[in-house]
């Protein structure tokens, strides 16, 4: 059976997690203008800059964190499952973001 290296599995999973996190953050910040959105604006001067910085940092930290699991062998996941997780997360995140601005905002 084909396997993928630990950084591919770990950063692939991190990509899926942070995609969902980013979409959820969109809903939370846009629904909480006086609290979350205001805090994000204060941190860098613009909520979008804070959003991007937070998600990129989360991607890096979660990726390296997952790579250290299993006594340094990294996250164990089959390539097929990783594909399903990444594609599923990206499609779901896209639908959450587009759906929010289309119907809820």
């Amino acid at each position: 059976m084909d396997t993928i290296n630990k950084y591919t599995a770990s950063f692939g999973a991190s990509l899926a997690i942070t995609s969902i996190l980013s979409a959820v953050l969109v809903v939370i910040k846009e629904s909480s203008e006086n609290t979350v959105l205001a805090l994000m604006k204060n941190l860098t001067g613009h909520h979008w800059a804070t959003h991007g910085l937070f998600i990129v940092l989360a991607f890096i930290l979660i990726g390296f964190g997952l790579a250290k699991t299993n006594n340094g062998q990294g996250l164990k996941m089959t390539p097929e499952r990783l594909i399903a997780v990444i594609v599923g997360a990206v499609v779901l995140s896209g639908l959450i973001i587009a759906g929010f601005y289309l119907f809820a905002d």
Partner: protein, 151 residues
């Protein structure tokens, strides 16, 4: 000057899509001869995407407010309310996908069919989302144009 910044954003975005299509074809035909090029092109996709993101982000943070006001007062307010709002957040996902490519390309794609399949899915997503972002940018531009024509 602002037009140059905006055009550079579009240029880097288009180069990212072109490099991704090139990468897709190379991965489909992965062999010992193109392994090095696959790694180089996966880095190129990530670099072009980061440049598009940083240049576009600078323009968005510094200059977009004036365009936004024109769009919202014009006949196409959805160009901002939906397309810009959606684009500015979906593009972060695209940035992560492009950044992941050099990592996925570090596997031996010649002997590892599953790693090749993973690369094809991720590159495919980069191309599809990239084209969607490009189209959204065009709608935002037309939104500003029709707003100015009305005024």
């Amino acid at each position: 000057m602002t037009e140059v910044i905006l055009m550079a954003h579009v240029l880097f975005g288009m180069l990212c899509i072109i490099a991704a299509v090139w990468l897709f074809v190379d991965v489909l035909n992965a062999n010992e001869g193109n392994q090095g090029r696959i790694k180089t092109m996966s880095i190129a996709v990530a670099v072009f995407m980061w440049l598009a993101y940083l240049v576009g982000g600078y323009w968005y943070l510094v200059f977009y407010a004036a365009d936004k006001a024109v769009i919202l007062k014009g006949p196409w307010p959805f160009a901002h309310n939906f397309f810009m709002e959606m684009k500015e957040h979906v593009v972060i996902m695209l940035l992560l996908l492009a950044t992941f490519l050099p990592i996925a390309a570090s596997n031996n794609l010649v002997i590892n069919k599953s790693a090749r399949k993973l690369m094809l899915w991720v590159v495919g997503l980069v191309v599809l989302i990239g084209v969607a972002m490009d189209g959204s940018g065009a709608i935002i531009g037309i939104g500003a144009k029709v707003g100015l024509m009305k005024g």
